[in-house]
């Protein structure tokens, strides 16, 4: 089956005062219908910028190149007005802070109905009814009553549910969720992740889950892509990457994440800090923090290479990685 989204050579650059910074560098990936792809990385890995670029939501000093094929339409080649047709209808995005995407002066049903009126050409009344139905689908109690509320009258979890409802109104092919649960409490986060699972199954929507939290990824995603310094370093199924990571960075992230069932005396964190995009290390961007780096990593940048089971990695290191504090 053809993938819903094929991204080819996506690069995102930002013009700063004196220099140009490349936030995303030649990103290639595909998104299959109905699957959940987790994009994992730390700050500055380019994970959010790549998808903001797809949505045409880059900051003013940003520019994008490459291709993003949604069916046979290249999203990156569209004009702003053309892109508006696809945004919300075929591809929707939700953010960490729902307040930034909700208009504080409009009632929920007005905001939700607006989307349907715009994209589906429904009349106001019909749109409001569908909006209330959708609010119910995402687990908002008393949806007819809540639909009259303003965004600030809701709790953080409820707002995020409203955002999801709004994103799913037109039954998009792709839902991009940028750190959707980071600001929420664990109990609410668990509810939201459950909601993502059921909704993507019900609507057949492909989900892109952008996050730094491997705990969130484990329960929800099918495949994952780990990014570092603007490039993907490892791709594969969630099980492959969690149980058999091949890139030292993936391994390091796993060892940095505290596991409730394992009380280790010390975690084995990755040393050092994520690099600044303005000053990426030569060769493999991860080499200064890598316990397995050797001469070649300093001089040459490893390309993404195909391995078995459709997985890919960008690393020169071969063979098993014994992880632990380097003496």
């Amino acid at each position: 089956m053809a993938p819903v989204l094929t991204v080819k050579d996506l690069s995102v650059r930002f013009a700063l005062h004196e220099s140009v910074v490349t936030a995303v560098n030649n990103l290639n990936f595909t998104l299959e219908a109905g699957e959940t792809l987790a994009v994992v990385g730390e700050s500055g890995s380019g994970k959010s910028q790549a998808f903001l670029a797809l949505m045409g939501l880059l900051a003013k000093n940003g520019s994008v190149s490459g291709q993003a094929l949604l069916g046979d339409v290249d999203l990156l080649a569209l004009s702003k007005t053309e892109l508006n047709q696809y945004r919300g209808r075929d591809v929707a995005m939700i953010f960490q802070d729902p307040m930034t995407s909700l208009n504080p002066a409009l009632r929920l049903k007005q905001q939700l109905a607006e989307v349907l009126v715009l994209h589906k050409g429904q009349d106001q009344k019909q749109a409001e009814t569908s909006a209330i139905e959708m609010l119910e689908r995402v687990g908002i109690p008393e949806p007819a009553k809540r639909a009259n509320a303003y965004p600030h009258q809701l709790s953080g979890g409820m707002r995020q549910r409203v955002m999801i409802a709004m994103a799913l109104l037109c039954q998009p092919k792709i839902l991009i969720a940028d750190e959707p649960t980071t600001a929420l409490d664990v109990t609410v986060q668990a509810q939201m992740l459950d909601l993502f699972k059921t909704l993507t199954e019900d609507f057949g929507t492909s989900l892109v889950l952008i996050t730094h939290d491997l705990g969130v990824v484990a329960g929800v995603a099918d495949r994952m892509m780990v990014m570092y310094g603007g490039r993907p370093v490892e791709k594969g199924t969630v099980d492959d990457l969690f149980y058999d990571p091949r890139h030292p960075y993936t391994l390091g992230l796993l060892h940095s994440t505290p596991h409730i069932a394992k009380r280790a005396e010390r975690l084995d964190p990755i040393q050092g800090m994520p690099p600044s995009l303005e000053n990426l290390p030569k060769g493999c961007a991860f080499h200064p923090r890598c316990a397995f780096a050797f001469d070649r990593c300093l001089a040459e940048r490893p390309a993404l290479t195909q391995l078995e089971n459709g997985r890919e990695k960008a690393c020169f290191h071969e063979g098993p990685m014994r992880y632990g504090k380097v003496a």
């Binding site: 964190p269 040393q271 050092g272 800090m273 000053n279 200064p288 923090r289 504090k325």
Partner: protein, 310 residues
């Protein structure tokens, strides 16, 4: 004491970037750089410095004092009193034959002085008053801010006129009058900022590390207010100049033979009908130049000190 052997047990050391400059970049220096890059603000600052230098150097080239009446012009100001290098009246003379060049210089000096003094009072009194009210909050805050409201609600022009009439027109009274009201707005701005700053974690951190209230205010809050204070003070200067001009325009400002730009403009406006346009033009050019440059410098400061995309 921090024994060395205990420190040895710590193994996780932050990786240092290779290029650590020994000296840090303070926010002030960053702001300075941004200000320099702002052409309108830099041009204005240079023009403003030029005006100030002119008021200092200018008097050395003056052939006439501010009060000396050139009898040769009296009665024939329109032709004999026009700006000319031969007569030494570079800017012409006023209606009674006094040298306008000297008078504009003095007027500019006084206007600038009024503006700067009014603004300085606002900076000192307004900052301390607002920071104290905002930091301690509660009843003290309510009492202090209500006092500001009360002073605000009194028609100050009326009070000022009364002051000038009762105590006579003098420089001191003018400064007292302007000083009385100039700090009100500043104290409100500063209080508002203090309220947000005091909820910032670094202020809580200062309290948690045992800082006294005085230290918290002067070491932690006030330095973070200085940006907005600088902006506001710069914009207050032209406001004070306008206020003084208005008072002088009403004829209640500085006393003859001293003068200010407001007084000169007032006189110039009255004699415009006789065709002695220069009596209005010269003070007005200086006046507008000063106002504009201060506004641009203030704007530049705001952009430099308060960048949204930091």
């Amino acid at each position: 004491m921090l024994a060395d052997n205990r420190i040895k047990t710590v193994t996780s050391v932050a990786a240092a970037p290779a290029d650590v400059p020994a000296k840090g970049r303070s926010l002030w220096r960053d702001a300075g750089r941004r200000f320099m890059a702002n052409k309108a603000a830099m041009t204005s600052l240079i023009v403003l410095i030029g005006v100030v230098l002119f008021t200092i150097i200018g008097p050395f080239f003056a052939k006439w004092s501010i009060e000396k009446v050139d009898w040769s012009v009296v009665g024939n100001v329109l032709t004999a009193g026009a700006p000319s290098f031969e007569t030494g009246h570079y800017f012409g003379t006023d209606e009674v034959g006094r040298d306008l060049y000297s008078r504009v210089i003095q007027g500019t000096q006084i206007s600038l002085l009024v503006g700067l003094v009014g603004s300085a009072i606002a900076v000192v009194v307004g900052t301390i008053y607002g920071a104290v009210a905002g930091y301690f909050g509660g009843r003290l805050d309510s009492a202090m801010m209500r006092l500001v409201d009360i002073i605000y609600s009194i028609p100050y022009m009326f009070i000022l006129i009364l002051l000038l009439i009762v105590f006579g027109r003098s420089f001191i009274m003018l400064f007292v009058g302007i000083g009385l009201i100039s700090w009100l707005g500043m104290s409100r701005v500063v209080r508002g900022q203090t309220l947000t700053l005091k909820n910032r974690e670094f202020v809580e951190a200062a309290i948690a590390t045992g800082s006294k209230p005085r230290d918290v205010i002067f070491r932690h809050i006030v330095p973070n207010l200085l940006g907005i204070v600088a902006i506001y003070a710069t914009l207050l200067v032209p406001e004070m100049i306008l206020l003084e001009s208005f008072i002088s325009f009403l004829g209640l400002g500085v006393q003859e033979p001293n003068t200010s730009l407001g007084a000169l403009i007032s006189e110039g406006a009255q004699t415009m009908q006789y065709g002695t346009y220069w009596q209005l033009a010269f003070p007005l050019v200086f006046f507008i130049t000063i106002l504009f440059t201060f506004f641009f410098v203030g704007d530049g400061l705001r952009d430099a000190l308060d960048p949204k995309d930091r």
